[in-house]
Subunit: 485 residues, 2 copies
């Protein structure tokens, strides 16, 4: 595209609070470097909520983005009293931008504790699944549950984006950060998918790192990292950690990449108390715009802006959130200074070689792993009981008689408490009761399920949650409790 | 106790790899400062596994700890091929040390990027529940699930320990770090419990902070923090982040506190490749011993050792993991140097005033919150289907006919996909099918449940997971999906 005269249509969402100011700054610079952009202004956020649109995103904005497939977006607010959903999340979900890409690079002229270390890393965070699906159920009045869901497809998509992004920037290493040592099935699925797909990207080194060690290393020696790919919750924490390393949110750009749509935005919020005061650092939004230009293949324009930003910072022209700035400049003056530095090269900052990133196509099927043989071996029935394991266990054994299943064990918060272990752990009033079927079957008969539930209820036990225990091709689909044989 | 001549019996676990060396160092100093300690040596870890004890912890060690209620412990290994459980986790679970206390304080003479900032904070991590219960079920061959479980009791216990620890060290502020903005019921339970109990500790300031912002602030301005209390997974990440701020794991002590037992240990591993080489930094284990002495009320002995460690470091006598050390000393020489500094005061380090920490008693009941009225309004049935929402939705509506329930909506990874929304999100083959009962009841009849399951199976749909949808005292026990009315 960059060599033709074709126009690029981009949806421009000014956003709330200081959004319009930082977006105007980015737009000014992008227009100067790349006249081929055609902006389509569209609304989202506070004003839209106040007009009664519960999602914060009106149809004309959805239509614009569906057409342009690209947005540059300011921060959005959800005003108090106008619905509980965030317009940011609505956009992310609607257009399924499953990859959140957060570059973390030391900037010249922005002194931090890490200055001189040469930090230049990118965090690629899964953006759709994991705990953020927000599926919660109170199991009892005292026990809350959230489902952490991780899929093969979700892992495959985020891992491929991480490798493809690494390639597009000439990066050498991708590290996958998980807690697979504790959560072997969920976090382990990202690890195994990563290790499997790494073979297809033999030009790039691939390593696994435990997420807590990753956080430790990020503050101890951040310059050792290149690309880090991780699950949604882990990524939320370490990407915010990352922006703290290089001067804060005022300098943290991001891209949200989907198969069809990409949305570029600063990480920071709308900072309403600074609205209209011309004091906000627009760098995060400007660098988000630079990422957008590269996504469009406009590498020259991107480099022009990036070099000018760095040359400006090196010239000690600083926005107000650079702590050592002796005479900080406002948003407009900083933007103007960058414009005046177009064509200048920073002395302590070299732009990476870039080539277009390949966004892998959307997978066609939901069934990635083939399973030949399915068996059901039991049921986990979660019950509520205000008593002890010594009281509960025999009741469950008794209840199971004649149902076609028998009690294997009871665990409380993941640790076996029945059969009694001789210890006396403190318990909560949700108990996981694991029953094994007398006969392994393909699918457990619903009559057996209801018989067991009835027997529990006859003992006065309330159930609230059931999980089937299966074997897929001979492999257990479930983990054992701490202390279970 | 400190004023009497009573002996303190302590279980001493040397541990694996470099464990015996660092434990010997701590023991030497503790014996010199506090002759009243009577050590009971006990085994755990690699050699125990190799003798065939699957938990890695033999009965005599359990007996010793049950009696002494206190351990100083070296790092433990699980040798490859000897069971998949960690002896560390076994000890933590057996004695239910529900609070992991991790002080993070800048040390004089240990230069880091944060030197001079005056970091002096403590992370209090819940240690029993959350995702670490390790309850995982493959929902389909392609979708893994882990249960995040948070209880009122677990929150109450960890919050009280955080406030009590703050009081024992004369600290002024406790911050509770959660992701309650996304996980309103689970992470929200810690937040609400914290806000409720904070009223009982009016001498201490109490603030909530979002966990990702907490990680950001920890690298930007760690000196602003005092005590941070958080859930297990969050705490795992930010406590390792914390130790990175002050020089690494060689300097990171910890206490694991339960109602009955407390275990003090360094955070680092057994570093087998350095075994017997007299090169390991024993500071983390020594400072864990200092925490133990304070737990015993031996404040003077604790101060003697702590001051001597700091005076030694200030004298530029450094273990090998201090990066600027020009002539680092070995484990034994470092220990000897500390002994020789007994009675000396560091010039840039002041010991906090300490008083005994109150460990609140174990709560007597599992039912903390009273609920007067329970209603069941529906069921979430999770099914496997390799197709589209447009195909699945009508099948479910059809199946529900005559069962006493009707389909409200279907979500995939937490976002509504049926009734159709006009968008086309990428889906995985686990679908959450939300059915509402035709009549609100106290408990859903098991015949209705089995009727619905049978109807799903008749359509060829496999279910693997059921959640009851309730109202407790009129409040929904479940969250809505993204896009659900």
């Amino acid at each position: 595209m960059s060599k033709s005269d074709a126009k690029h249509h981009v949806t421009l969402i000014l956003g709330d609070g200081i959004g319009p100011e930082v977006v105007a700054s980015a737009r000014t610079l992008i227009d100067a470097a790349c006249p081929r952009i055609v902006w389509e202004e569209a609304e989202a956020g506070a004003e839209v909520f106040k007009k009664g649109v519960a999602s914060g995103v009106p149809q004309h904005t959805i239509d614009s983005l569906s057409k342009t497939r690209l947005a540059l977006k300011g921060p959005l607010e959800t005003p108090v009293g106008f619905g509980e959903k965030s317009a940011n999340v609505t956009l992310r979900k609607l257009f399924e931008t499953f990859a959140n890409i957060r570059p973390v690079r030391e900037l010249p002229g922005v002194p931090t504790r890490f200055s001189g270390s040469g930090i230049d890393l990118v965090i690629v965070r899964e953006n759709v699944e994991d705990l953020y699906a927000g599926i919660e159920h109170m199991q009892t009045p005292d026990v809350a549950q959230c489902l952490k869901l991780i899929s093969t497809k979700g892992c495959e998509k985020i891992v491929r984006i991480a490798f493809e992004f690494a390639r597009s920037e000439g990066r050498k290493t991708v590290q996958c950060a998980t807690k697979a040592n504790i959560m072997k099935k969920t976090e382990g699925l990202l690890k195994s998918t990563f290790e499997h797909l790494a073979k297809e990207y033999s030009d790039i080194e691939a390593w696994h790192i435990i997420i807590d060690n990753c956080a430790h290393q990020l503050v101890k020696k951040p310059e050792q990292f290149d690309v880090i790919v991780t699950t949604n919750m882990n990524g939320d924490i370490i990407s915010d950690l990352g922006s703290g390393l290089i001067g804060g949110l005022g300098f943290a750009p991001s891209a949200n990449i989907g198969h069809d749509v990409a949305i570029f935005e600063a990480v920071h919020g709308s900072a309403p108390k600074y609205t209209g005061k011309d004091v906000i650092n627009p760098t995060a939004m400007i660098l988000s715009g630079v990422m957008m230009l590269r996504h469009l293949g406009e590498f020259e324009a991107a480099s022009t802006i990036e070099n000018a930003v760095m040359a400006t910072l090196e010239a000690d022209i600083h926005p107000r959130d650079v702590q050592t700035a002796s005479a900080p400049v406002g948003t407009k003056a900083f933007t103007q200074a960058i414009l005046e530095h177009f064509g200048k090269m920073p002395s302590n900052y070299a732009i990476r070689p870039h080539k277009p990133m390949v966004v892998p196509p959307r997978p066609k099927t939901t069934a990635i792993r083939k399973v030949e043989k399915r068996e059901t071996v039991g049921l986990d029935i979660f019950t509520e009981f205000d008593g002890t394991a010594a009281d509960l266990g025999p009741m469950l054994e008794e209840a199971a008689k004649g149902t076609g299943a028998k009690l294997k064990m009871v665990s409380n918060r993941g640790t076996v408490v029945y059969p009694l272990t001789g210890t006396d752990p403190d318990v909560v009033n949700q108990w996981r009761c694991r029953f094994t079927l007398d006969q392994v079957v393909t699918e457990v008969p619903t009559t057996l399920v209801s018989g067991l539930l009835q027997a529990l209820e006859a003992k006065g036990l309330r159930w609230m949650h059931i999980e089937k225990l299966c074997r897929f091709d001979g492999e257990d689909t479930f983990t054992r409790a701490q202390g279970e044989n």
